[in-house]
């Protein structure tokens, strides 16, 4: 199977490439990149490359290719072609809650959103704290998944925060990081040992930073909206205090710490300072935290209930600043599907979490790129090369010989979010009805088109 992606604006943040070139894909790899690939294929028409040095290569290409059929030409004129997006924070819910999402539907939702790889968090049922669960996920993903799935293993058995999980075995069976996502490891001593232990395998420890005592039974950000609505608030300090603790533990242990879904200005500040000191810390922000504030909760909108909560406008501004100055390395969705009946409840009772796979790219383009917060190549880096770097995945770049995981998107397409058209099993998005700019045109995983507009 040979596919030619012709005339697209290829942006590869890892190499700094941003130009209109063709890509030729074969057997799951990118085999050729160049302005002349098209010329080679249509050589009969006598098209000659303008550049002499590339022209030599082009002639060679023409010779080799004139004999081979290209199975498909994708016209990417006016579109952006970038490394396949990597979402390092999703919940696929399988095994255990297949009513919310499955590996099949969750990865299809990812593909629809332009992602070619996802990292699934271990809070399944059973928890991904053993080889058998990791292997089940990987096997199912291989059979049914639309995109690559990289499991994240548990830090502690059953996410109970009591004893370390068998992190060595999780690493061997394919986990790319460890996390007790959703359940902060409250015991600092245990967290220290987890970092030391994970460090043996050079696995990053992904921390959901939250002091459960400070959060109490909070369901929204502690601010003017919690005060007005009479909802229990979670202060920013609940997150920031744990960010501070984990940074200190990372300094102590030398481990690689990745802080999930940063929401508070104080956290951004702490991470910025830690990076300046040389601590091995990275972090991610979600589209909902950079696009929304606590105001979205008004009317007791349970689709704006997630953990960490949507915070104030000044926190959102701090997230934007962190994205701009590189303090925040990655954009990840924290895609957290829940059924309609779970969300259609009293605000206190409804579960935390929103889905994000199918809106993340468009929100990044609309909220960050269109408004000038981030240049396009940096925005793409936070969705491709940066997560690949943190997780040490051989992904997130466009190069001859590299895996043919590619995302083609139209940066100018206007569309309206319709949750009922999602590939995800769930509909719990706060962005239903939003008008966004920028949509996925095609998602290519290992040389195969897995989703197409």
């Amino acid at each position: 199977m040979r596919i030619l992606i012709a005339g697209g604006r290829v942006i590869d943040p890892a190499s700094g490439v941003d130009e209109v070139v063709d890509l030729l894909i074969e057997d799951g790899r990118i085999v050729r990149i160049g302005k002349d690939v098209r010329g080679a294929r249509s050589g009969v028409q006598g098209a000659e490359p303008p550049d002499a040095s590339k022209g030599r290569r082009s002639k060679a290409a023409k010779n080799s290719e004139s004999a081979i059929n290209v199975d498909r030409v994708m016209d990417a004129a006016g579109l952006v072609v970038c490394p396949g997006l990597i979402d390092m924070h999703v919940h696929l819910r399988q095994p255990g809650r297949e009513d919310k999402e499955t590996i099949a539907t969750g990865t299809l939702a990812a593909a629809r959103g332009g992602f070619t790889a996802v990292c699934c968090m271990p809070n399944t049922d059973p928890v991904n704290d053993t080889r058998s669960v990791t292997e089940f996920i990987l096997d199912t993903a291989k059979r049914e998944g639309a995109v690559h799935v990289y499991p994240v293993g548990a830090i502690t058995k059953g996410l109970r925060g009591e004893e370390l999980a068998e992190i060595g075995e999780l690493f061997e069976s394919g986990c790319v990081a460890v996390s007790d996502d959703g359940r902060p490891v409250m015991n600092a001593e245990l967290m220290r040992r987890a970092m030391e232990y994970a460090g043996m395998f050079d696995l990053p420890v992904i921390s959901h930073c939250e002091d459960l005592h400070l959060s109490g039974n909070g369901v929204v950000h502690e601010g003017i909206v919690s005060t007005e609505l009479g909802l229990h608030g979670v202060p920013s300090a609940s997150e920031a205090a744990m960010v501070a603790r984990d940074i200190l533990l990372a300094e102590l242990t030398g481990a690689r710490l990745h802080i999930a879904h940063v929401s508070a200005a104080e956290s951004v500040r702490l991470i910025r300072e830690a990076k300046a000191r040389g601590v091995q810390v990275s972090c991610e922000a979600t589209p909902h935290h950079f696009a929304l504030t606590e105001e979205a909760v008004r009317g007791f909108n349970t689709n704006a209930k997630m953990n960490p909560p949507l915070r104030s406008e000044s926190d959102r501004q701090a997230i934007l600043a962190g994205l701009r100055d590189g303090t925040i390395d990655v954009i990840a969705t924290d895609h957290a599907p829940h059924t309609a009946q779970e969300k259609e409840q009293e605000f206190d009772v409804a579960p935390f979490g929103v889905i994000g796979s199918e809106t993340a790219l468009a929100l990044t383009l609309s909220t960050l790129v269109a408004s000038g917060v981030l240049p396009l190549n940096q925005a793409i880096a936070k969705l491709t090369s940066e997560p690949a770097r943190i997780l040490k995945l051989p992904k997130g770049r466009i190069a001859e010989g590299a895996d043919a995981d590619l995302t083609i998107f139209d940066p100018d397409r206007d569309w309206t979010v319709d949750a009922f058209g999602f590939a995800s099993k769930s509909r719990n998005t706060p962005f239903h009805g939003w008008e966004l700019k920028g949509g996925t045109v095609a998602t290519i995983v290992a040389g195969k088109v897995v989703w197409e507009a």
Partner: protein, 309 residues
């Protein structure tokens, strides 16, 4: 001039004119309570369901009497809050209720926003009789009615609301209501019970009771939930009452014609000394009496409201 809304969910959404209409109507309703035959046919053939997920004697009784005096058929449904998690969801309860075609549903629920949630499910009018720490609009309306009855006006009066502001729906509804009718509002309590940014609702914030009650016209004491001690919000009942209990000696620093209110039920000797609760300036029983008139007014006004499809 009438009430055109389907539901009464929060004071925050009412206009000053709507508040005035409700209070004026309540004045007319109060006459019915003074008659030998305490019944008018205004809501004949209407069905009122009192759906209470929290124990409440006075509010439920008040709505029940109000409905009956207006000739509505009143049905009381009490569900303990513990069964909310296990049993039928509020949405399903709403759909079940809808199938019985009630005209008005009065909801008391421990979760903030529950009334708004139910209102979206039901074609019937929904009256919020207290949702979590959010709002308790009928309490605020009866408080305003009682103040107006005693003082002859509302505008320009100064009130201090004292106690656990953070967890109080009564405080929130009164803050909104009092501000809308032109009153000045102070809140006072231990720092641990004052929610963040409360000043943005247009109130002055105090942690010293004596300073808070100096030169106000109304002191509204809130019930202290004893369980808050375990949550670490105050060290002991003794210290709470020493710092924030309304006692006769403390009252000496207040205006001589200050009015004392309390939404009840009172913790005698904790937030309010017995001699203050039973004293000449205490409006606590007037509040209960007026509750019926205000709720009659609301039932009457909402019964003509357009029903959602």
């Amino acid at each position: 001039m009438g009430l055109t809304r389907k539901d009464l969910l929060r004071m925050q959404e009412l206009t000053a004119d709507e508040i005035r209409l409700i209070l004026d109507t309540a004045e007319s309703m109060k006459q019915v309570a003074g008659r030998d035959i305490k019944k008018v046919p205004a809501l004949r053939g209407k069905t009122l369901i009192n759906l209470f997920y929290e124990a409440s004697t006075r509010t439920r009784m008040s709505f029940e009497i109000a409905g009956k005096w207006l000739s509505a058929d009143v049905i009381n449904v009490s569900t303990s809050s513990s069964s909310v998690a296990k049993g039928e969801s509020l949405k399903d309860t709403g759909l079940t209720l809808q199938a019985m075609h009630p005209d008005i549903v009065v909801l008391r629920h421990p979760a903030s926003g529950a009334a708004e949630f139910l209102a979206k499910q039901l074609a019937a009018s929904v009256i919020n009789a207290g949702d979590g720490a959010h709002e308790h609009p009928t309490q605020a309306l009866l408080d305003l009615f009682t103040i107006r009855e005693k003082k002859g006006r509302l505008e320009g009066l100064k009130a201090a609301i004292v106690g656990d502001i953070a967890h109080s729906r009564v405080a929130r509804s009164n803050i909104h209501g009092m501000r809308k009718v032109g009153m000045e509002v102070r809140v006072a309590g231990p720092r641990t019970m004052l929610p963040c940014f409360i000043d943005r609702l247009g109130v002055e914030v105090f942690t010293d009771l004596e300073r808070a009650i100096a030169d106000v016209d109304i002191i509204m004491m809130l019930r202290l939930q004893i369980e808050r001690q375990q949550a670490g919000l105050f060290p002991s009942l003794r210290e709470y009452s020493r710092l924030f209990g309304l006692t006769l000696p403390r009252l000496k620093g207040a205006k001589s014609d200050v009015l004392i209110m309390h939404p009840g039920p009172i913790n005698r000797g904790v937030e309010i000394a017995p001699e203050v609760a039973d004293g000449p300036y205490s409006l606590i029983l007037n509040q209960v009496e007026n509750g019926v008139a205000v709720r009659m007014a609301l039932l009457y006004l909402l019964a003509g409201a357009p029903q959602a499809g």
